[in-house]
């Protein structure tokens, strides 16, 4: 029997697979396709203090092997999420990770505190990397000092483990990773989307109403692998890897690069069963490449 289980700070995962933030809502829609008990964890859509209505449409565009999105962190606000969405997800035998966002340091802290009051959330994913909102988000994720400050402030306001979600829109990701580790991060989550643009020929205008959007899907997988590879050997905290995962072989590639678990985003749109399918197929792939457990494969691709 291949052992898929993995222990991370705050998370006792039966398998390393979870849907990525923003690509699975709060699980309700996908729960009509399969039983969410199957999942290692669920990462919820970003939560902000107040409700956010997000950006104007169009919000998505297709690209070669990927897509752009500029949803703009639309969510009903942390109070509603705790009242109505967390209890829904709690019915399932899985871990719940709350993705938190904000436009100021104070907002991150407030949202983190709110989740700390519930006993149903197992970890926080600190989103300092959303490219689709005017203020906040990305500004925290591209400056090591700001990244460290918000990590420290959030850590002080919660007992939950904090996974900091890094932006790939930087020239030196290792520097940011080390800064948030020093500031107390329990883990890293990487990568968020890369800022991109598409111009619509008939209108001669950017297709996405927000002009720019975040690129996700298979197109970004090599970037995610490279960044996780670079970071994993420089930090001592675990990484939840994501970016373009479409099949169980991709999961193994992320593990080899140094990720301890993975999240799957865009691929849910093509195949609503993708997380479940990958969980079923993972033992076969691990075995084929000579591993008896997920744990064994972590970091095995790193060349000294």
């Amino acid at each position: 029997m291949t052992n898929l289980a993995i222990e991370l700070p705050g998370l006792s995962l039966k398998n390393p697979v979870m849907p990525a933030s923003g690509c699975f809502g709060f699980g309700r829609e996908y729960a009509t396709f399969y039983n969410l008990n199957k999942l290692g964890a669920v990462i919820m859509k970003a939560a902000t203090m107040q409700e956010r209505l997000g950006n104007p449409t169009p919000r998505v565009a297709e690209t070669a092997s990927g897509m752009l999105n500029a949803i703009g962190l639309q969510n009903p606000g942390v109070t509603k999420i705790i009242e109505t969405e967390v209890p829904f997800l709690s019915q399932f035998n899985t871990n719940i990770i709350a993705n938190i966002a904000g436009s100021s340091l104070e907002e991150y802290v407030e949202v983190a505190r709110a989740f700390n009051e519930t006993d149903q959330v197992h970890a926080l994913e600190l989103n300092i990397s959303c490219p689709n909102v005017k203020e906040g988000g990305l500004q925290f994720g591209t400056d090591p000092l700001m990244a460290a400050r918000v990590t420290e402030a959030v850590k002080k306001s919660t007992n939950l483990p904090v996974y900091v979600k890094l932006s790939p829109n930087v020239s030196d990701i290792v520097q940011i990773a080390k800064a948030v580790e020093a500031a107390g991060a329990d883990g890293l989550s990487m990568i968020n989307t890369l800022t991109g643009m598409q111009i619509h020929l008939p209108s001669r205008r950017p297709l996405i109403a927000n002009k720019t959007g975040g690129l996700s899907g298979p197109a970004i997988k090599p970037i995610a692998i490279r960044m996780i590879y670079e970071v994993s050997s420089q930090v001592n905290i675990p990484i939840i890897g994501m970016g373009g995962i479409q099949r169980a072989e991709d999961v193994l590639e992320f593990l080899l690069a140094g990720a301890s678990a993975v999240a799957i985003g865009t691929a849910n749109f093509q195949n609503p069963f993708i997380c479940a399918d990958i969980i079923d197929d993972l033992p076969r792939v691990l075995k084929q490449y000579g591993f008896n457990s997920v744990r064994e494969a972590i970091g095995k691709g790193i060349v000294a």
Binding site: L53, T57, R59, V60, E62, N69, Q74, P218, P272
Partner: protein, 251 residues
């Protein structure tokens, strides 16, 4: 309720300029489809599925008809699929047109271009339930016209072309003045057409089917939202729509 299903292509043919009619077989989808719903179709390895309306449904043969216009890579590729190939489809999706209206009422169907297909399934369904049908269908020009005989079987049908090459010349709204004897109007077409329709038919009860670029198609990703006058402040086109009462949305 939607499912992920395989649909076998029974036939595919060009029925107007850059317009393809495809008949697909699948019992679950044909059993559950209602007018105004759509299919979210996986085409090759495209990252995103393509939403296409259900244009007809046959409960005896378990067949669903779709009509689509070749407007880009995805629809071009879909047009190359052959009879016997299978499509990976999520469906039927969405809340369609309300069909529980009093028998003997008159419904006006207003379609523009590739917005016409869902109105055929709707018109057929309503007619079977004793509703009187009138249709005003707008196309760019003669080469683009399709399903005229099908709609004539349902009721009085007026064809309008922008360039006057067939039927009346102009826009669908140009011929409405003399055709205001109806109880409800149901429409699907380009947003500018829907906008002028709503203003010309102000005060009338109407339902419109809307389009927006979609991600998941199941209500999770919040790509295809629309500002609305409800408590949340928005509606999702894929799962709350694609059909809306003209009173509940702002376009």
């Amino acid at each position: 309720m939607m499912k992920r299903e395989k649909m076998r292509i029974v036939s595919t043919r060009v029925i107007a300029k850059e317009t393809i009619e495809m008949v697909l077989e699948n019992k679950w989808i044909s059993t559950h489809a209602s007018p105004g719903q759509f299919l979210h179709i996986q085409i090759g390895s495209h990252t995103l599925r393509r939403p296409i309306s259900i244009a007809d449904c046959n409960h005896v043969t378990n067949e669903i008809t779709i009509l689509f216009k070749i407007t880009g890579d995805g629809t071009r590729h879909l047009g190359e699929y052959q009879v016997g190939n299978y499509l990976d489809v999520l469906g039927p999706i969405g809340n369609g047109f309300p069909t529980n209206i009093t028998a003997q009422s008159t419904v006006l169907l207003v379609g523009g271009g590739i917005g016409v297909p869902p109105l055929y399934f709707l018109g057929k369904f309503l007619k079977e339930n004793g509703i009187n049908i009138k249709a005003v269908l707008g196309f760019q020009g003669e080469d683009h016209v399709f399903y005229e005989p099908n709609f004539r079987e349902l009721g009085e049908t007026i064809i309008v072309t922008n360039d006057g090459s067939y039927g009346e010349k102009g826009y669908v709204t140009d011929v409405l003045e003399n055709n205001l004897a109806f109880d409800y109007y149901y429409s699907c077409g380009p947003t500018p057409m829907l906008r002028s329709l709503i203003s010309v038919l102000k005060g009338k009860k109407g339902y419109i089917s809307l389009e927006e670029r979609m991600g998941c198609g199941v209500g999770a990703c919040l790509a295809c939202i629309l500002p609305a006058k409800n408590e949340r402040g928005y509606k999702k086109i894929c799962s709350d729509g694609p059909v809306f009462n003209v009173e509940e949305v702002t376009i």
